[in-house]
Symmetry: C2
Subunit: 190 residues, 2 copies
DNA sequence: GCTTAAATACGAGACTTCTAGTATTTATAG
DNA sequence: CTATAAATACTAGAAGTCTCGTATTTAAGC
């Protein structure tokens, strides 16, 4: 047991909650560290004692505020499982979470460390989930075995990310069906 | 003919060229206006006389440096036309142009004006090109007529954008074939 | 047990640094 | 005479650092 005052766990949670809420609520512009500190009722230095940068706080807030993975059912109909999962992710992206993701992607451009952490802590776990399901589909003979997993996953989830980041069109939960329908014939076992 | 000294056209080009080169060459971090001014051998105020913001310069530099649209052949084989076009775009995204696009997307997050201009001046023209080709395919009976164009285009080009912006995997020109192959069965006229 | 010292965290806010964008002044081209 | 360009000082705002006083917890001395 280390000596000294212990970390204020409630402060940590207040910081992450405040960050998540501020970024999700405030329109595009940046949320400053001072605002986060004020909203979390915490001194700025308390933030910098535990996080190396503003962006690191954002990333933690994202992971903290989106803990529960979007569910991925496992029925005997793989196609509708994917459709359901995609629909869930679409909903997630249309919530405040979407704004935080956008901001993190933006910041990632200037900070490869954050880019990597984003992939490791947010992107990859979800990716692995879909990937495993795809693999299972192959073993069950529902999916062609000669496909490039990465390309298929990018084709299914890419349109959603594209619309989130470019903003040319909204992405509705109902689009999940269209997307999966468009891609499925190319990957299903004939 | 306007009175007074005329605009220095060479300076304008030096600014755009310098911007394009600096963003493309320098690793992730931001290129500052001062650096651009120095590299273009121009006073900072000369930049702000003609562009409203740093990001506006970036956007002009992108359009200026990527003038020639990636070619879109029109043979009797629509599938391979799409594949060829996608291959071209992949190559473009792997060049310095890719970095400028990433930076612009990042900046767009905090500036909806730029986001809109980016879509209008870079995204939409290319989108329209692909869209027209898709429409033509329908008229020729090669493509199903009941598909959602937007979703199909997002599925074809989404993976590329995804890999550019997330950086989880590189996108090679050879992937163009895999992507189009994956999507095509879902849209081709049976 | 009780007191005290050591170690660490927190709050508050001044301070530093960096960069976008503005303003001013002087020179130069049409 | 008029508008642009160069040079450079200036303003504003935000990230991140530093300092100081205070609070909290463990360990040592008695």
């Amino acid at each position: 047991m280390p000596r000294g005052r212990t970390r204020d766990e409630e402060a940590r949670i207040r910081i992450l909650d405040a960050t998540f809420e501020l970024v999700g609520a405030n329109s595009p512009g940046k949320v400053t560290i001072n605002e986060i500190a004020a909203a979390g009722e915490v001194a700025k230095q308390t933030i910098y004692r535990w996080w190396p940068s503003r962006t690191a706080v954002l990333l933690d807030a994202l992971v903290h505020g989106t803990m529960k993975a979007t569910p991925f059912k496992e029925t005997d109909n793989l196609q509708s499982d994917f459709e359901g999962h995609l629909r869930g992710v679409i909903r997630l992206f249309n919530s405040p979470t979407g704004k935080i993701i956008r901001e993190l992607i933006a910041e990632s451009h200037a900070d490869e460390t954050i880019a990597e952490e984003f992939r490791n802590r947010f992107w990859q776990p979800r990716r692995d989930l879909s990937q495993a399901r795809l693999q299972r589909g192959i073993e069950l003979g529902q999916i062609r075995s000669d496909i490039d997993h990465e390309v298929v996953l990018d084709a299914i989830y890419g349109p959603l990310w594209l619309r989130l980041l470019i903003g040319h069109l909204p992405m509705k939960p109902a689009d999940a069906r269209r997307i999966v329908d468009a891609v499925w014939p190319g990957i299903a076992q004939p």
